[in-house]
Symmetry: C2
Subunit: 222 residues, 2 copies
DNA sequence: GTCTATAAACCGATAGAC
DNA sequence: GTCTATCGGTTTATAGAC
């Protein structure tokens, strides 16, 4: 509710507020809103629990500020992902590779988003769309629209994100399958797999085993 | 820990135990383990909180029994999904359509599984694989392996599931995008979209706009 | 801004009557 | 098998000194 706290997001210097936000982001992503107590957050930051209530009116306010903080922290990187150069198709291929590396590296933000989608709180989901995903999503929809008009561009973006994300989301579970191999978690392997599937499908007629613009890294030859 | 409770899963008749399990499944899926209290569960079932501790040793025991109950409840339906008839490719297409309808209908089970994947508890994820997904996943891996050998079959199954599931998981969020249209939530529309993408990719060279074995329902012509 | 101290509510879990 | 009553601990949140 306090608009002053929103304006302080980019306050430089490691003050208490940003220290709390960073640690709280980590903890909320780990065990969810109800899985972390204000005591625990204060303890891990190294301050008194009462101090939290000087910076944030209550727990839900802290959580909302954490969401805004996390979004702002990632927005720039997202923009960098979408605005690549080259042909529309090579842009898309490059995005898939960069996005895969990105979600393989960053842990907290996407787990937080997944929890929000599970919870289904309309108010917060709308904030999420307005603050960050709305613009990026629109850019992606236009991007895939430039490559093909044979699909609903909106559904195609949903499919593309699900294609990549599910490899990361099932990471902990897949190791228990007998068909598991560690290479299946390699970001470059996942990216190449998703590129091939997204562009050509399992038929792989036109140039099977070839990804448009293999870019810098080596390609596995299946 | 008590093996007697495990054996009682299939006890016929609407007794208290199954009533608790069904309601607890709903509540745990909704707000997670820490988001529901034993008091709340008892209240919604219409019994005294103390009664819960006659049927379950403690809260974590109740949660584990809910997982086993949910798994057993879904196992039969899962088996029916995979064992269709026809050519390997038409089997796969039929699976995508049936799976899409299935997850569009069932709410609680997949939210519970998603929460487990987020939490990353190795012990429980292993139980999930051993009790349910292990067999079904293996069957799917063999199924896609019969259709194509140009991909890692394990990764292909992960991709296929992510492709379908993400449309459902982002359902609440997508309505806030300006590109949203209600038809994008229609199970048959989603299934046809995923079929086309999975088989042919966005290139759609071989038979674009055509899905193998359109089966019973009408096909949209884009 | 940060602390000590504490209020008020809720939590998981138990004892024991019926 | 279900209930009443309650214990001990934890939770969010506040009041007020420094």
């Amino acid at each position: 509710m306090t608009d002053q706290s929103t304006a302080q997001i980019d306050t430089p210097g490691g003050n208490t507020r940003t220290a709390v936000l960073e640690k709280a982001l980590e903890l909320f992503a780990e065990t969810g809103f109800n899985g972390v107590s204000m005591r625990r957050i204060a303890q891990e930051v190294g301050i008194n629990p009462a101090t939290l209530y000087h910076h944030f009116t209550h727990k839900e306010d802290l959580y909302e500020q954490v969401l805004r903080f996390a979004y702002a922290e990632q927005a720039a990187q997202f923009s960098a992902l979408v605005s690549t150069e080259g042909t529309p198709r090579s842009q898309l291929g490059e995005f898939i590779r960069e996005f895969t590396r990105y979600i393989a590296k960053d842990q907290h933000f996407f787990r937080l988003v997944k929890r929000e989608q599970l919870e289904g709180n309309s108010e917060r989901l709308k904030m999420l769309v307005d603050l960050l995903f709305g613009q990026q999503y629109g850019a992606m929809v236009r991007s895939v629209g430039r490559v093909t008009q044979a699909f609903d561009a909106h559904m195609l973006v949903t499919s593309l994100l699900g294609l990549v994300l599910h490899h990361y989301e099932t990471r902990h579970m897949r190791q228990f399958f007998s068909e598991y191999a560690p290479s299946q978690d390699d970001p470059d392997v996942v990216a190449d797999h998703c590129c091939r599937l997204f562009f050509f499908g399992i038929q792989g007629e036109a140039g099977a085993g070839q990804v448009p613009e293999p870019s810098t890294h080596a390609m596995p030859t299946p």
